[in-house]
């Protein structure tokens, strides 16, 4: 049993790749924002890479363990301590019954930290996933972020202490701003004129404070459009970026009026704004580790390159990366 002493800021339970198969009822996948760090945390403790684990952001929790456990902490450095003693990141560690893990020091760089427990967290799955989707009040612990006093169990595991992720296999979460974020053109790239594309790809975009697990709002220059955005049937809506409602890919750069919003893990599955670009899955960890005020620069890749990046990440999140 784990007992939540202090919850931290919207600490929640996630699994990977999340709640898949309910897109046509409007469910986003949810799941960890930085699935690279997440998968490595599970790998360290002998779990399947997608098993349920804890996602912390900005300010982490204080957790008391009521049984012996093998755990691993990855991602942003919240200077974790076990009963006051510093413990390393990117390494599996043994926790004795009664010990307290503290992650309450905000990271200097990066945002999200993951805590995996050997065996995986045992909360009731909902629609085949344990991922928390707090805005819809489903998944995780009672459909919400952790609160003080929450208690939950984990499954029996086969993890060992002392396993470490090779430094070369760790995401550079402290690389920081400006971040280079890969994008694939489309689906609605033909609504933006060439000047608009050039401006998007050559400008600095600032991540707005009005960002959460549904969307990352960006601040930057104005967008300009092709004829298509103006000469259209009235049911599209009158603003140039309005389109007859359509499915949104996770990662879409969704142009709400003039405000681009990157639709992330808990984002809407459909809507009536154009998506000129899509951030591929392998670049998501950078979104998960960036904070408001930081700068994004976008770089186009082909769909083949984007798929190759995802494949490379899958390879990194395997046993060879463990020393």
């Amino acid at each position: 049993m784990i007992e939540v002493i202090k919850p931290g800021l919207e600490t929640c339970i996630q699994d990977w790749p999340g709640r898949i198969g309910y897109l046509n009822q409007g469910f986003p996948p949810s799941g960890p924002m930085d699935s690279w760090s997440f998968r490595l945390a599970n790998l360290l403790v002998g779990n399947q890479v997608g098993d349920a684990a804890i996602e912390c952001q900005y300010v982490g929790p204080v957790l008391k363990f009521h049984a012996d456990a093998i755990i691993a902490v990855t991602g942003a450095n919240m200077h974790p301590t076990l009963d006051g003693e510093a413990v390393p990141l990117w390494e599996s560690i043994a926790v004795s019954a009664g010990a307290t893990l503290t992650l309450s020091k905000p990271p200097q760089a990066g945002v999200r930290t993951y805590v995996a427990i050997s065996g995986g967290i045992d909360v009731d799955p909902w629609l085949n996933s344990r991922s928390t989707f707090a805005k819809a009040k489903v998944g995780g612990v009672n459909g919400r972020a952790l609160r003080a006093g929450d208690r939950f169990k984990w499954h029996a595991g086969k993890g060992m202490a002392g396993r470490r992720v090779k430094p070369s296999a760790r995401p550079p979460v402290e690389g920081g701003s400006p971040w280079t974020i890969e994008v694939v053109r489309g689906p609605n790239d033909d609504w933006i004129d060439e000047a608009g594309h050039d401006r998007f790809l050559s400008s600095d975009w600032k991540l707005s404070g009005k960002s959460d697990r549904t969307g990352f709002r960006l601040e930057g220059p104005q967008w300009t459009f092709t004829e298509k955005a103006y000469n259209k049937a009235p049911e599209h809506g009158s603003v140039p970026s309005n389109i007859v409602d359509q499915g949104y890919p996770i990662g879409a750069i969704n142009l709400a009026g003039q405000t681009p919003i990157i639709l992330v893990n808990d984002g809407p599955s459909m809507g009536g704004f154009i998506n000129p670009y899509t951030v591929p899955s392998a670049a998501f960890w950078k979104l998960g580790q960036s904070r408001p005020g930081e700068i994004y620069r976008f770089k186009t890749v082909s769909v083949d390159e984007a798929q190759q990046m995802a494949r490379a990440l899958t390879v990194i999140c395997q046993e060879d990366s463990i020393a």
């Binding site: 046509n24 009822q25 409602d245 996770i250 899509t278």
Partner: protein, 289 residues
């Protein structure tokens, strides 16, 4: 219009978008829903799930099992094998939903948006002006004077995308710029030519001017209608809004809370695309009630 050939658009490393046309023509929704159904019956390698909407369908696929090019070729073949949607007849449930027009909750939400995000004209007036309607009474009459077609579920769990079936009730409205960060649960909104009901409090971009007290999604499945799905609607259902007073709204709200509310739904209906298209062709679509 319907394109001669569907367009296959790139959407990152694991999604693609199939566009059948670029309007809210009902036939396009039947093409999208028809393709989704066909893919459920006869799965195509690599397809994980789909999300059909008014005129397009998003496909979530596994790039480890198929390439983009292979999948496009396979989907093009299935899409080409779909017959004309005009021969289709589907069972179609009809839901009657009480709705308070110009309710205090959506008005307060818009006032809050004006205070915190951007000053804008009140939503009912935006819709009136965009459609040449002279009063709120006329807006209520026109908006509630039709059945709405559930074209798809999306944006949020259980949220229906609706098309006014009677062209004389078809309204268009600009979407919020920037979007609202909040919308009261049950708000009824219009953006472009699409109507919707917000299942829970969420961000949103549609003009909002009415609210229903009836829950349209229920993760706890308290009511029998949610026995098979936590979402009230499925594509192909129809909805009729029944204008109600604040007193009726609050009465229904109380009955929803104590579990005694009875959902007003009829299940004997069939919807025929050809009959519908013939009827639309026979009336003056430009007229208003």
């Amino acid at each position: 219009m319907i394109y001669d050939e569907p367009r296959f658009l790139l959407a990152g490393d694991r999604y693609l978008l199939i566009e059948f046309g670029n309007t809210m023509l009902l036939d396009l929704n039947f093409l999208a829903q028809g393709l989704a159904k066909k893919l459920e019956e006869e799965p195509v390698k690599g397809v994980i799930e789909t999300a059909p909407c008014f005129a397009s369908m998003l496909v979530h696929y596994d790039p480890e099992s198929v390439s983009f090019e292979y999948l496009v070729a396979a989907l093009r073949e299935v899409a080409g094998s779909l017959g004309s949607p005009s021969n289709i007849t589907v069972p179609s449930r009809l839901f009657y939903l009480p709705a308070m027009y110009f309710d205090p909750w959506t008005e307060e939400c818009v006032a809050d948006y004006c205070k915190k995000i951007a000053l804008k004209e009140k939503d009912p007036e935006v819709v009136m002006r965009a459609n040449g309607l002279s009063s709120r009474e006329e807006l209520l009459r026109v908006h509630s004077g039709t059945e709405y077609w559930v074209a798809s579920l999306g944006f949020w769990p259980g949220l229906p995308f609706l098309k006014a079936l009677d062209p004389r009730s078809t309204l268009n409205a600009p979407k919020y710029n920037p979007p609202r960060t909040n919308t009261p649960a049950g708000s009824i909104g219009l953006g472009g030519g699409a109507n919707s009901i917000y299942p829970v409090a969420t961000p949103g971009g549609y003009q909002i001017f009415a609210r229903t007290p009836v829950p349209i999604w229920d993760p706890k499945q308290r009511f029998d209608v949610f026995e098979h799905s936590i979402c009230l609607f499925r594509p192909g259902d129809r909805i009729k809004f029944m204008p109600c007073s604040r007193q009726e709204f609050e009465d229904v709200e109380r009955r929803v809370e104590d579990g005694s509310y009875v959902f007003n739904v009829v299940e004997y209906g069939q919807f025929s695309v050809s009959q519908y298209n013939a009827w639309v062709a026979s009336i003056d679509a430009e007229a208003r009630f």
